[in-house]
């Protein structure tokens, strides 16, 4: 018989170790599908590791992949801290990218020290504005933001497809549904020659630092945490709960919008409707793995990116489907969710025993 006993207190070491254990558990569990697909398990792990960390090129790929995940992970973690369930980072990413392309693909010509801040700002405003809609629906009408943010993703994706097939279609694109390329002034420079890693990573790390300071040291962060942990006590204490939600929605949407800017201006150079392989949704996994901590988001994003990049290269080397990566990511989310059970409860195994009838005095 299994018994759950609530824990009264959780040591910080334990809380810190759990996501790491969860990640390792997920990797170990990945052996099952790898073996089932006919791959040799240990060789596969070797390929995953080498593919992620084995060379300068691999590291560059890894960090390029981690960059959008840091942004979306931060977006989700800020929102979840206030218990504003933003599942719409994917859509916010796309409108951010769309705004960057609208401005940066020739509509305005200016030197890059003007263009780059401009597209960053445009992407943040676009993402923030998109998230403002579900936030206001929640605060004014009580609409469930899980539903509204999730469904807006599809609206946005279809809108982007419409734009790419219509007004924003590249006339030189050989008929492909893609936007005109970003001008060179509106492109985030690469950090090293012949590698895909770009300055978007630095912007992501700076964002993580700013969010960390905001959450830990600022009045806003204090009010966001209070609102998220106990909204009625926050209201009672005179904390402006509605405007806190709006602030959080704007910040969260802006961060996700930045992911889109960084992808089009740093990596791809133009917008397509498949620019994000689910970075917005993976951001939820990243934020949960990170325990909603901004610093943790950076670590978790690198871990998830390593799994994706490593599994990609493993699948090429061994002829195993690269969907293994999705499996590991999904399993690490499940492991984290299960592990949060361990944070709240102690689990005891007890053997149920039938006690015999004993008269008083005989025992």
């Amino acid at each position: 018989m299994i018994r759950f006993e609530p824990r009264s207190n959780v040591s910080s070491l334990f809380a810190f170790a759990l996501p790491i254990i969860a990640g390792i558990t997920a990797l170990v569990l990945a052996a099952i599908p790898i073996a089932a697909a006919g791959g040799e398990v240990f060789a596969a792990y070797g390929h995953i590791f080498k593919g992620a960390f084995g060379s300068k090129f691999a590291l560059s790929e890894l960090l390029a992949r981690a960059t959008p995940l840091i942004f979306t992970g931060l977006a989700v973690s800020v929102a979840f801290r206030a218990k504003l369930w933003n599942i719409g980072a994917e859509g916010q990413l796309y409108v951010g990218a769309l705004a960057a392309v609208a401005i940066g693909s020739g509509a305005i010509s200016a030197p890059s020290y003007i263009m780059i801040p401009l597209i960053i700002l445009a992407g943040m405003i676009a993402g923030g504005t998109l998230m403002l809609v579900p936030t206001l629906l929640k605060t004014k009408l009580g609409a469930d933001e899980v539903v509204t943010t999730l469904l807006l993703n599809f609206v946005v994706l279809l809108f982007v497809q419409m734009m790419l097939e219509g007004p924003m279609k590249d006339p030189m694109g050989m008929g492909w549904p893609q936007s005109e390329p970003m001008t060179s002034a509106a492109t985030l420079p690469k950090m090293f020659a012949r590698m895909r890693i770009h300055w978007g990573l630095v912007i992501a790390l700076v964002s993580a630092l700013i969010i960390y300071i905001m959450m830990k040291r600022s009045v806003w962060g204090f009010e966001i945490r209070a609102t998220g942990e106990n909204v009625s006590a926050a209201k009672h204490a005179g904390i402006p709960v509605t405007s806190t939600f709006i602030k959080v929605g704007l910040i969260s949407g802006a961060l996700a919008g930045l992911a889109g800017v960084s992808e089009v201006a740093g990596l791809k150079g133009y917008l397509t409707a498949d620019i994000s392989p689910g970075f917005g949704y993976t951001g939820v996994v990243v934020a949960m793995l990170a325990g909603l901590s901004p610093v943790g988001v950076v670590v978790a994003a690198v871990f998830i990116a390593a799994v994706f990049v490593g599994a990609d290269s493993m699948s090429r080397a061994m002829g195993v489907s690269s969907y293994i990566a999705d499996l590991v990511v999904a399993m690490s989310l499940i492991c984290v969710l299960v592990s949060s059970l361990f944070v709240c409860f102690k689990i005891r195994f007890v053997r149920p025993k039938k006690t015999p009838l004993v008269a008083k005095g005989e025992a």
Binding site: E229, H236, G238, I239
Partner: protein, 515 residues
């Protein structure tokens, strides 16, 4: 060794020990319960009463010791630990403080719920009804079985809970703070019923911290302190002061009422209506003066929480005006705090503190935007820490330090955080809603002292409570709220408890039933 049947108790708790981490919730507790006996289990909050009852009922498993019940054959047998089902089968019935009834079902349905086999094709309503009619007649617990529970008053719901236990042939009845939600008259009738049941051979334990009812209704008193039984003696040999001291472990100085010096009116309600449903208030006229405590008596759910919300700035009146020093009160919590109203919320866990945040963060929750605690939007950690250390010392908040997680503190210490946070702002008005509910004697005395200090300093205090002892001890004037109507406050000296109790039940001041 053979013993006669009558010599065995119905229930015997032997050497029960339960430890949570470093906390000994129960240490070597021995308690016997005989048929026909009413035992009062007395103890401060955190003394281990609830843990003990949860072990008895199988919600927890004791680390050591055994729970034994008398078998039909007359001998004591071990109760399977950790199995509520076994406790039910052994004839233990429990009436929780917060009722466990399904509101959308009728009384009858609630009572038979869980007793019918999952595979029974239909449950025999008529048989159940006949059994219940008989039980109601023999116990005097009259209630309309066909009314939905949501339509029943609190006292009636409690009767349904007791009937539920009786229907399952309970021999041992456990009641957790049964009078917490009842008027004095309803409590009297409850204790009459309990005496009747005991006379028929049931064994009854009730948990309480109200001295008067313990002395009035029990045959035996067991006092728990720090998880141990520190006294177990016949009620006839107890007196009030001795019990209070045994319970707390030291002598208790209860706050004495000193008459205030009523000055000008500060907080004035003029024709105020607000809220809806059961918690609606209508045409409330009330004037709180400086330097006085007005006690607002009433059974929970008669509009007190709406009144508290209006004063707290969380709800706007639908009619009438509330004014402070002649200016209308803004329906905005932050503005209300700034204008000098301290609010002690009724549900301190839900509205008073953010449980996941630290003690120091909760202490500055209302003032975080003041320049004392932030500069350019960044927190001034040193100032916050200094404030917290002072408050912890001044209010004797028992915690491991300013960084302790508030959720883990006891109810009394959580209330101290709320008191420190609100009263240290030198408020002109104090709204205290059920400020001592669920607190032990020591913490209650502390709350009372703080409220009196605020009054003596010249603040007007509006004390919402259902504890008549507390109201008569503290208030300069007492008003009664019933179904959203508030009567004109009267001098405490001119009232007696019985009269106020009747008014809480809806009788007018002169004694006849109100419409």
């Amino acid at each position: 060794m053979p013993e006669t049947e009558s010599g065995h108790p119905l229930l015997s708790l032997q050497n029960i020990t339960k430890i949570f981490g470093d906390l000994v919730a129960n240490g070597n507790v021995n308690l016997d319960l005989h048929a026909g006996e009413i035992v009062a289990l007395l103890g401060e909050n955190g003394a281990g009463k609830t843990t003990l009852m949860n072990i008895l009922f199988g919600h927890y498993v004791a680390d050591q010791g055994r729970v034994m019940v008398r078998h039909a054959s007359g001998i004591l047998v071990d109760l399977e630990p950790g199995a509520p089902q076994a406790a039910l089968e052994a004839g233990i019935g429990m009436v929780h403080q917060h009722f466990t009834l399904a509101e959308n079902l009728t009384g009858l349905e609630n009572i038979v719920l869980g007793t019918e086999s999952l595979f029974a094709r239909r449950f025999s309503r008529s048989k159940a009804r006949a059994k219940l009619q008989e039980l109601m007649q023999s116990s005097g617990l009259e209630v309309d079985l066909d009314l939905r529970v949501s339509k029943l008053a609190v006292g009636e719901r409690q009767r349904v809970e007791i009937l539920k236990a009786l229907y399952r042939d309970a021999r041992i009845l456990v009641l957790d703070e049964p009078t917490a939600v009842l008027t004095p008259q309803e409590s009297d009738s409850l204790f009459k019923t309990l005496k009747l049941l005991a006379a028929k051979g049931m064994a009854i334990i009730f948990i309480s911290h109200k001295m008067a009812e313990v002395l009035g209704a029990s045959d035996r008193v067991a006092v728990l302190r720090g998880g141990k039984i520190v006294a177990d003696l016949p009620t006839s040999q107890c007196d009030r002061h001795q019990l209070a001291e045994v319970m707390v472990g030291h002598s208790v100085q209860s706050a004495k009422r000193k008459p205030g010096y009523p000055e000008d009116e500060t907080l004035v309600f003029a024709g105020v209506s607000a809220g809806e449903g059961r918690e609606q208030i209508e045409n409330v006229n009330l004037a709180l003066r400086k330097g006085e405590i007005i006690g607002l008596a009433g059974v929970s759910g008669n509009g007190q929480s709406t009144l508290a919300k209006v004063v707290s700035g969380l709800e706007e009146p639908t009619a009438g005006t509330v004014s402070l020093h002649g200016n209308p009160l803004k329906p905005n919590a932050a503005a209300v705090i700034r204008s000098g109203i301290a609010r002690i919320p009724e549900d301190r866990h839900h509205d008073g503190i953010v449980g996941a945040m630290s003690v120091e963060e909760n202490l500055v929750l209302e003032e975080i935007r003041k320049p004392a605690y932030q500069r350019f939007g960044l927190l001034r950690f040193n100032e916050i820490r200094k404030r917290a250390q002072e408050a912890i010392k001044a209010y004797d908040i028992r915690c491991s330090g300013p960084l302790a997680v508030s959720r883990l503190l006891s109810g009394g210490n959580i209330q101290k955080i709320v008191l420190a946070r609100t009263l240290d702002q030198q408020p002109d008005i104090v709204l205290a809603a059920q400020p001592s509910r669920g607190l032990d004697v020591g913490a209650t005395a502390d709350v009372h002292r703080r409220l009196q200090e605020a009054r003596d300093r010249g603040a007007g205090v509006l004390l919402i409570s259902e504890d008549l002892d507390e109201l008569f001890q503290l208030s300069d004037r007492i008003a009664v709220i019933h179904r959203g109507h508030i009567c004109e406050p009267m001098e405490t000296e001119k009232l007696d408890k019985k009269q106020v109790g009747l008014m809480m039940a809806g009788h007018s001041a002169k004694g006849e039933q109100a419409a």
